[in-house]
Symmetry: C2
Amino acid sequence: MDNRLDALFAALADPTRRAILTMLLEDDMAVTDVAEPFQMSLAAISKHLTILTRAGLISQEKRGRVKWCKLEPDTMRDVTVWVQGFGQFEPVHLDAFERFLAAEFAEPGETG
Amino acid sequence: MDNRLDALFAALADPTRRAILTMLLEDDMAVTDVAEPFQMSLAAISKHLTILTRAGLISQEKRGRVKWCKLEPDTMRDVTVWVQGFGQFEPVHLDAFERFLAAEFAEPGETG
DNA sequence: GGCATATTCAACCTTTCGGTTGACGATTAT
DNA sequence: ATAATCGTCAACCGAAAGGTTGAATATGCC
């Protein structure tokens, strides 16, 4: 990982890690709680969190025996900056992403 | 799940491939010409181009015995959409992008 | 036809990735 | 004190990534 962008894009290339990031969009979470919805060991999730931390996409703070994971969305700006150099700065509406989130965290009784 | 973003981010995670993309920002190029500035075999570059093609970031068209590589910047919009869901949609200036390019090209170490 | 050019294929190698398991240090609860 | 919980570490594994080399396939040129 010689370059910052290497670590960033590589971190984002894994679906488990992207799912973790969207989970953290809701709220800070303990490692165990992050792991809960996944069908893999806690150790595996712990590794994913380390990768996300090294990429700067999250930060981890230990309070007591619980390690809290916090999204660091500013880091994604590096991605945006790089990508937008290719001319993709047309108005990007959040529609698609919001629909995705809405579906992901859908609550009963809520109508679009 | 969405294999699409996996392939996209993974393709962007390699510095050689990102360098190729920025080269193609200038103009369409033949495979041999793409390979020229790199210290690796033509076969290696060919593989990188295949990965970029499968990710949708470039297209390749064979005319005669020359295969032309063309940037497909629209594909990066998928990245933008996903990333901007995290709130990083402040105005991005190309100044910043150019600094990134300078940093990218300073890294490899062939020139100094 | 015969040869050079352009690109990929196939086989191989080494390193990294994503996962597992079991043991461990640290903290909290009983 | 003892037990349970939280999270990481270490060793291991199979698969994939990124590279090499040499042969193969097209295509263009004389």
